[in-house]
């Protein structure tokens, strides 16, 4: 098409050590190591296989919410109803078993379906009424879902779940010393990471988060992607509900309060911009362990929960401030800007 010699573009990725080590994730790794050192001073038993595994189990059930929450934030959305979805799906699971007398296996399936439905409703409202902010819609459903859970159980608890050994084992059981829950989590984490970074769906998430209008004009089915992602978030909130119920052996309508903020904190600390379009999956995974182990360590020395909140809040503020300081600007390679002749 051009008379002059064709301009050739570089299409090979180049690897640079400098760029590699300037990644945000290394900073997270440093914090992660620091927290582990701190914990090992607190408890002499911490740095053992069983110590680390029990520490991990203390927070891992919440981490299932973080996986789809990464998608939500990359899309530039937010979902603060997840804690209530955990409660509602857990309550319905407990009551399906206790009141309706359904087998536990079926109750779990119902739980997962309820979770997915809650997420679907969030997504459906958002794509039908585009002028509504996700924060407000999911605030509404947060109250709504919690309200339904409370209506079902009042101030009662649905107990007796410990009597089913296999259900109890979901949380407490292990194989070769590795908890089942950890295995399930690793499998899902790998799948979610793969979807985000290696598939079309992941690319669409980034596209929507970066520029929704351009994505729409480019044929990305924005509504479909949002609906799927919100449904997925509801579904994985229900997964959290299953493990939580397995751990506690009973469910009440006031469980999982504040889970949404913890999940969002983990995602944001992982370097995923709440404005959308930016961040890596691995960052969020490291952050799950940072916040989880930090809580665990502070819990060991009986730090009051209020102080714990102050520590975690400060860490989060610090984490979102550091990229603003623009420390990287001294290292950044100049971009190839080509001016027109």
């Amino acid at each position: 098409m051009n008379k002059e010699t064709k301009r050739v573009l570089i299409a090979e990725t180049t690897f640079s050590w400098k760029k590699f080590f300037l990644k945000w994730e290394w900073f997270l790794v440093l914090i992660f190591i620091g927290i582990n050192i701190m914990n090992s001073f607190i408890s002499p038993y911490y740095l053992s296989v069983s110590g680390l595994l029990s520490a991990t189990s203390s927070f891992l059930e919440k981490a299932f919410i973080v996986l789809p929450m990464v998608f939500i934030l990359i899309m530039g959305d937010i979902d603060i109803s997840v804690g209530s979805v955990v409660a509602l799906s857990a309550v319905i699971m407990g009551e399906s078993y206790n009141r309706l007398g359904l087998p536990m296996g079926l109750a779990i399936i119902i739980c997962l379906l309820v979770g997915a439905l809650c997420g679907f409703i969030n997504g459906f409202i958002l794509i039908k009424f585009k002028e509504l902010a996700p924060m407000i819609v999911t605030l509404g459903t947060q109250i709504l879902y919690r309200g339904i859970a409370t209506m079902i159980l009042k101030d009662q608890a649905s107990t007796g779940l410990t009597s089913i050994t296999w259900f109890s084992n979901l949380y407490w059981g292990s194989i070769f010393g590795i908890p089942y829950m950890l295995i399930v989590f690793i499998v899902f984490a790998v799948i979610f990471g793969y979807i985000l970074h290696k598939t079309n769906f992941g690319r669409y998430l980034y596209a929507i988060g970066s520029n929704e209008t351009a994505a729409h004009f480019s044929g990305v089915e924005v509504d479909k992607v949002r609906l799927i992602t919100f449904t997925l978030t509801g579904l994985f909130s229900a997964v959290t509900a299953v493990f939580l119920a397995s751990r506690m052996g009973s469910v009440r309508p006031n469980i999982a309060v504040g889970y949404e903020l913890e999940a969002i904190s983990m995602v944001v600390l992982g370097g995923i911009s709440s404005a959308g379009g930016k961040g890596n999956f691995i960052g969020a995974i490291i952050s799950i362990f940072i916040i989880g182990l930090l809580r665990y360590g502070l819990g060991l020395i009986n730090i009051p929960s209020q102080v714990m909140l102050v520590v975690i809040g400060s860490l989060l503020i610090l984490a979102v401030l550091i990229p603003q300081l623009n420390l990287g600007k001294y290292f950044r390679r100049k971009q190839g800007v080509v001016k027109e002749a």
Binding site: M1, N2, R203, A207, N211, H216, A341
Partner: protein, 498 residues
């Protein structure tokens, strides 16, 4: 005392890469209504912004009553008695009429806002303008015409001597326009001097005593309206030579590819029909507000049609959305390439392949090697000036960004390519390159719809031209019979409704 209340001499304004005003002169007599006319992009808006102190001229002088002034900002211009009423009313919809009128210059005594006094004065101003609403009404409850009266009242409340009206009739019905004419004449009789910008000859001949014509950022001529004809004004507005920028390639024109019949969308366009054939470049033109973009966005599935039929290769289609349009073979290069066309934060390669992710993946898993080679290939085809396919789209110039958007279209298997203002904000060299690409696409058999406000583009590139005015098709010309004058006459067609 000078003869002119406002005079501009040799005003030049340069934006990065563009001369928006080139040694323009302008004279406004006290107590006259002076029309400022020219095509889209002729420099009218920039001139207004210089007069109102929004832009500082790079060269030239401004005189008010013969005294040289130097506006440091809009406040200075306001103090000098200049007020502007814009095409799109910039009001506070939730506040009352009084609050809107006095926004920014409230009557304050002892640090307390004097509401009573302001209401009284606002009511007096409205009475003077024969307004049929009250000063306590909420702004958003008013019609566009009424809101304009509020803006005029605001100008009067600031004791403006020079009032600029930027296409005030663009959104008004015939009766409303008539009311506005009366108000404008009243203002003049009360001693204000008025600059009236309009695309409508109705307005110009009804109101103005003199007219200044701008074209290509330059002052062209000044006319006394009495004794001048529409033709003379049009000639002054368009009289430009088409350079050799448009190497029209002869292409065998084939069968109908896209045909639309009776497209309507309430409030936007009505009964729009046209067709485009294989290898043909169809120009779709009109002035601002002609709703060309709205029509093609509906065809592409961004918005929904209320009525009408779309046929592709003779078969009726119902486009559900952009994805569906592309699968059928219709592509659109949107008007706003930075907001709609590209993800500026992304590399060029990823931008190009976003619409065709399905083709470069297996079971939803992206084949990155295939992606890189495809995007490299297409970006090289359109001749993007960049170093690598990983360069961010934001690092490119406007022309090169547009080439990336073109490359994006080429990735899909399209039959029809719609280009909405592809050379907007692009410099001359890159324009020529884009024209060349468009010609090449036609040669490859694409049916092309080119939306453009630039006459030379339409005349130089298109095989056929469809002219729109206020949401309707008002004319269609073949390449052999088309001229700038004919297009402009149809584009400014007298209103049939209202």
């Amino acid at each position: 005392m000078s003869e002119y209340i406002l005079e501009l001499k040799g005003v030049t304004k340069i934006f990065p890469g563009v001369k928006a005003l080139d040694r323009v002169q302008f004279q406004l007599k006290a107590g006259e209504i002076h029309a400022l006319i020219g095509e889209n992009g002729a420099g009218k808006s920039t001139l207004i912004k210089v007069i109102t102190g929004v832009h500082k001229p790079d060269e030239g002088e401004i005189f008010i009553n013969g005294e040289r002034v130097n506006f440091r900002g809009p406040k200075d211009a306001q103090k000098a008695g200049i007020a502007a009423i814009y095409q799109h009313v910039t009001a506070y919809p939730h506040l009352t009429v009084t609050e809107n009128i006095f926004m920014g210059h409230e009557i304050v005594r002892n640090k307390v806002v004097q509401w009573k006094e302001m209401h009284k004065e606002a009511s007096e101003l409205l009475a003077k303008l024969d307004a049929d609403f009250s000063a306590t009404d909420e702004m958003q409850s008013l019609s566009v015409a009424q809101q304009q009266l509020v803006e005029i009242a605001k100008a009067l409340s600031m004791k403006a001597k020079i009032i600029i009206m930027d296409e005030p009739t663009a959104a008004l019905s015939k009766n409303e326009s008539e009311r506005l004419y009366e108000v404008t004449e009243k203002l003049r009789d009360d001693g204000a001097s008025i600059i009236f910008i309009s695309h409508r000859f109705d307005d110009i001949f009804r109101l103005a005593s003199r007219a200044t014509v701008l074209r290509d950022s330059k002052y062209i001529d000044q006319f006394d309206i009495e004794g001048v004809t529409e033709k003379e004004l049009i000639t002054a507005m368009v009289g430009r030579e088409i350079t050799e920028m448009f190497p029209k390639i002869d292409v065998e024109i084939g069968e109908d590819v896209l045909r639309v019949e009776g497209l309507s969308r309430t409030g936007f366009f009505k009964d729009v029909s046209f067709n485009v054939r294989e290898g043909e470049i169809l120009g779709l033109t009109g002035l601002v507000g002609s709703r060309r973009t709205e029509v093609v966005e509906a065809i592409y599935g961004i918005t929904k049609l209320d009525k009408g039929h779309v046929y592709l290769n003779g078969k009726e289609i119902h486009v559900k959305g952009p994805r569906h349009a592309m699968e059928l073979g219709i592509g659109l290069l949107p008007e706003d390439r930075q907001q709609q066309g590209l993800i500026l934060d992304w590399g060029l390669g990823r931008n190009v392949t976003l619409p065709v992710m399905k083709d470069i993946s297996k079971k939803g898993i992206t084949d990155e090697a295939k992606e890189r080679s495809l995007s490299k290939n297409l970006l090289e085809t359109v001749g993007v000036k960049a170093l690598s396919i990983f360069d961010k789209a934001s690092s490119l110039s406007g022309g090169n960004q547009q080439k990336v958007v073109v490359a994006k279209q080429l990735a899909s298997k399209l039959k029809v390519i719609i280009l909405d203002e592809p050379t907007k904000g692009v410099d001359v060299g890159a324009k020529a390159a884009i024209y060349e690409i468009i010609g090449e696409l036609a040669k490859q058999g694409y049916a092309i719809i080119l939306i453009s406000s630039e006459m030379p583009e339409i005349l130089g590139l298109c095989d056929r031209v469809v002219v729109m005015c206020e949401g309707r098709v008002t004319g269609e010309f073949d390449r052999r019979e088309v001229s700038q004058e004919k297009i402009l006459e149809k584009a400014m067609a007298k209103r049939t409704i209202g």
